[in-house]
Symmetry: C2
Subunit: 239 residues, 2 copies
């Protein structure tokens, strides 16, 4: 099953941009009259018939639609400090999208080796992973924000921060234990940089109501920790 993406839908017509049109018409050689499937990136799959097979701007008439297609029963935000090696973070974006994530927030921590992050590549990766994994919602890749300002903003009902040090007064539970019995929908998990969150960042998060967690006995790379968090939430909501 091949999916195309567009945000331009009106009067029952999906308008593909040039990139999607080229892929549809030149690469996959679709012709007017062919049936194609289009996602709007915000939850709906449209079964369409190709009207105009122009490589600059193909158009397809909507035959039927499926709302909430490929959706998951939770709303997960992962705030993660981009890794020094960009590919590792992008790999996390791809895998979290496949597993099921709603929002990825690149966090800039005190100890981040990468203080600047451009979101354009991650957005392309999220879109292609969304199509590849047959989902209709493309996860939001937020603009980078500092850890300290993010923890003040986020309002998920379950907010977890994973760090590696022990703070006597706030013992960490495992992410599994923290999720146990949670019957809400909105979860946020924060994953620090290679050098971990700073004590100050952790304290601010705890003051803001975050629950300190660990991800088990294994020492995980930043991007692996972020994927394990997505997996823990995905598995928590699995029957």
């Amino acid at each position: 099953m091949e999916l195309f993406y567009t945000y331009q839908i009106s009067d029952g017509i999906c308008f593909l941009d040039q990139e999607e049109s080229v892929h549809c018409v030149k690469v996959l050689r679709h012709r007017a009259g062919d049936q194609i499937d289009v996602i709007d990136g915000i939850g709906t799959l449209y079964h369409c018939r190709l009207l105009d097979a122009g490589p600059k701007g193909a158009q397809a008439a909507i035959l039927s639609e499926v709302r909430g297609w490929g959706s998951h029963p939770y709303n997960l935000t992962i705030g993660c400090c981009p890794t020094k090696n960009n590919e590792r973070f992008e790999w996390f974006v791809e895998k979290a999208t496949e597993i099921g994530v709603d929002r990825i927030v690149p966090l800039i921590g005190e100890r981040s080796e990468r203080k600047v992050y451009k979101t354009d590549r991650a957005r392309r990766i999220a879109l292609s992973a969304t199509k590849q994994s047959l989902k209709a919602v493309v996860p939001e890749i937020a603009e980078p924000v500092s850890v300290t300002s993010f923890v003040g903003q986020d309002a998920a009902s379950l907010r977890l921060i994973a760090y590696c040090f022990e703070d006597g007064s706030h013992p960490r539970r495992s992410i599994k234990e923290a999720l146990q019995g949670f019957d809400g929908k909105d979860v946020t998990v924060l994953i620090g940089p290679e050098g971990d969150f700073s004590q100050e960042e952790a304290s601010l998060a705890l003051e803001a109501g975050y629950i300190p967690v660990h991800l088990g006995p294994s020492r995980l790379r930043t991007e692996t920790a972020a994927v394990i968090s997505a997996a823990a939430v995905y598995l928590h909501f699995m029957d």
Copy 2:
């Protein structure tokens, strides 16, 4: 913490091979008298003092040892069909090693696009991921074997096969449900190729006592499915 690896240990001396010696002496510039940490790849960490800092074959005297260092409370075998794109399978090897896996078996399935798999690169990746994630056991990367012959051999107490089709007479449960209440130690999970296992392979596995599972609603790439399986077992054994 920097780890070195050797399988040559005798009379209280760890003998590093040339690659490890160069890394220890040339790259990290260790000198005789320095303390270094060495793993034997089968579970023990040795705190050592460097005696001979020769770049061709450094030697270190064992001061103390920690058995079962960085170990996990289960014994997990993942049989997975190597992906067409080698990097994706190697990525799984790295991530599963970080999370905690004991044996990775490259499976050749009827529908495998990759019918030949060379294990040398995967072994190097497993070793470096073991050191990087501070474990003392290097997961075994077995030689490739066909799905049909593997399912006849393996004798783990919990054997799961993940495939994507529905077989009316053998409904699949989720991997989470299949793990629930399992208090054994030995788990094997089989993950098929991009084209999935064949009906025949699945039937053979079921006859051999495998439990058919799915990995939840998301459509996962082969390597992501394999990592999710490792994560599910890791989380099952997490407190």
